[in-house]
Symmetry: C2
């Protein structure tokens, strides 16, 4: 049996998957659901997974946050493009000493959440997960799944491994979710951006998969130059990412199966892009430290144009 109760804010490909795994392992889990509410209340959640399929015929599901109990852990697993709703959603869900677990991409989200709810602890989670929602309440987990957790403190000061992190670690490990803890959330976030900025960005701008980007000598070089700018951005906030990590990311991506990035999927489905969290915030945070990242800014400008036009086309 798990120790903590969980509220899942955003029962999609990511939140639905992790939440279902936690409930299956015996945790108390409450799911906030938007458009799939009727389906999920009737039929529960179905997980098709490379690690084994399972169904949860009955889940505690809500379409109004006011009806949900406050929980030990509030998992934020909506897309960052929806984060404006958090000012409404988080206050009724948390209690003193709740943990808000931010399973989102990008930088600076924890700071925004700290401004919305000040009586909580915030933990950031970096998810390496490949999963899709293929129908209401029906999630297809294709590959990976590992989460890296780090606790947030003001100014992203590194706080080491806390008891709260260990408690979540315990629950997730019991639920069969691969998990690791990091002493420095900000370093972890920059490291993830080192992949996300070049590949998410270029995949949308060039209508390309990761293998196409790596097969061309010009874009491969551009990826590397973008990674060096992410390294500079990290350095501007006092985080050192070694050159060898860039090489590791490049080699890793060459070996990956051809991959359509999450931003490209959003783009192809005419959904808003997570440009601000993944590209805009790192740019702004580096700029606050007097470091400019011209190539990332160029990517940002191109993505904003494409995102605006893409949504205008709807």
């Amino acid at each position: 049996m798990g120790n903590l109760s969980y509220a899942i804010v955003g029962t999609g490909a990511l939140g639905g998957f992790y939440g279902a795994k936690l409930q299956k392992a015996g945790n108390e889990v409450h799911f906030l659901v938007n458009s799939d509410y009727q389906q999920v209340i009737k039929h529960g959640l179905t997980i098709e997974s490379k690690d084994g399929d399972f169904r949860l015929p009955q889940v505690q599901v809500y379409n109004q946050v006011e009806k949900m109990p406050s929980c030990d852990v509030v998992v934020v697993s909506i897309k960052t493009t929806q984060n404006h709703i958090l000012t409404q959603i988080l206050p009724p869900l948390v209690k003193d000493d709740s943990i808000v677990l931010v399973l989102q991409n990008g930088l600076g989200i924890e700071t925004e959440i700290a401004q919305i709810v000040s009586n909580v602890n915030i933990i950031g989670g970096l998810c390496f997960l490949c999963s899709n929602k293929i129908a209401p309440g029906h999630i297809h987990h294709l590959d990976y799944g590992k989460i890296t957790l780090g606790e947030y403190a003001t100014n992203y000061n590194a706080v080491g491994i806390t008891e709260r992190m260990k408690a979540i670690f315990q629950d997730f490990e019991n639920a069969g979710i691969e998990i690791e803890l990091t002493e420095d959330l900000l370093l972890g976030r920059w490291k993830k951006l080192m992949w996300n900025i070049p590949y998410n960005g270029l995949s949308v701008i060039l209508d390309a998969t990761t293998d196409e980007i790596m097969a061309d000598m010009y874009t491969r070089t551009l990826v590397e130059q973008l990674m060096k700018e992410v390294q500079l951005g990290a350095k501007s906030t006092g985080r050192i990412i070694p050159d060898s990590f860039i090489q590791t990311m490049l080699d890793y991506t060459v070996k990956m199966k051809p991959y359509r990035t999450s931003m490209k999927i959003d783009f192809d489905e005419n959904r808003p892009l997570e440009v601000e969290a993944i590209v805009g915030n790192p740019l702004r945070i580096a700029a606050e430290h007097d470091v400019s990242l011209p190539l990332i800014r160029c990517l940002y400008q191109q993505l904003k144009f494409l995102d605006n036009r893409n949504r205008g086309d709807r």
Copy 2:
């Protein structure tokens, strides 16, 4: 009657148009034609123009350069992507003191031509012409048409206004072609690149027309930043373009009719892009003067990727 004889190397939308105007005005003109040879030998050239339509039922047309006479002026009006054929074509066409008139986009072409034929004078021409070849031997002139001429000397040293330039000026003016002379070819080429690099580049990368690029605040800013890098490139070769010229280009483009750039047209028709002449050469020339232009390099890398894939798709 014109004074000079002309060989037109590349009887397309540009060379065909100017060559026909020159013949109509009484100049001796010899047209080198590739795929349209049979059509042009039978039916001549047809020009549909906003300045008045006309036909030349008979023109001196060739599909082999060896059969052409050497001429006073050899007009190079193929696309720069075909310039590898110039090593075969130019030597038999020129005589001592011929003028090679380079009506092409980009930078550095005159230097390449000087290496192929050393006994000639080279004049570069910047064409502001909007015209299309709509069928074999049939050209549609939509708008503009002005040519700016500057004479080339080693290292692009400015040589002022020469007698040769004046002779061409006379013929072109007689033919009803708007023409102006510049004392500094390199400055003229950089100024044209200030428009060509951002708009040609972004139109292909973002699948956009000029009005879309200018309507979005992000890409509008990116255009301006790219123009500033062109300004830096010009400065690296000792040419000063004032800031006011950037503003003029931006204002001019906002006022233009929505425009699909020539590089975008090439891309849409699966033709090779003039990336090297328009983007690669300026980058390399600035680099030779120890100036790096990171945004233009980013554009270059993206365009090379798209160009390679586009031609692979054929």
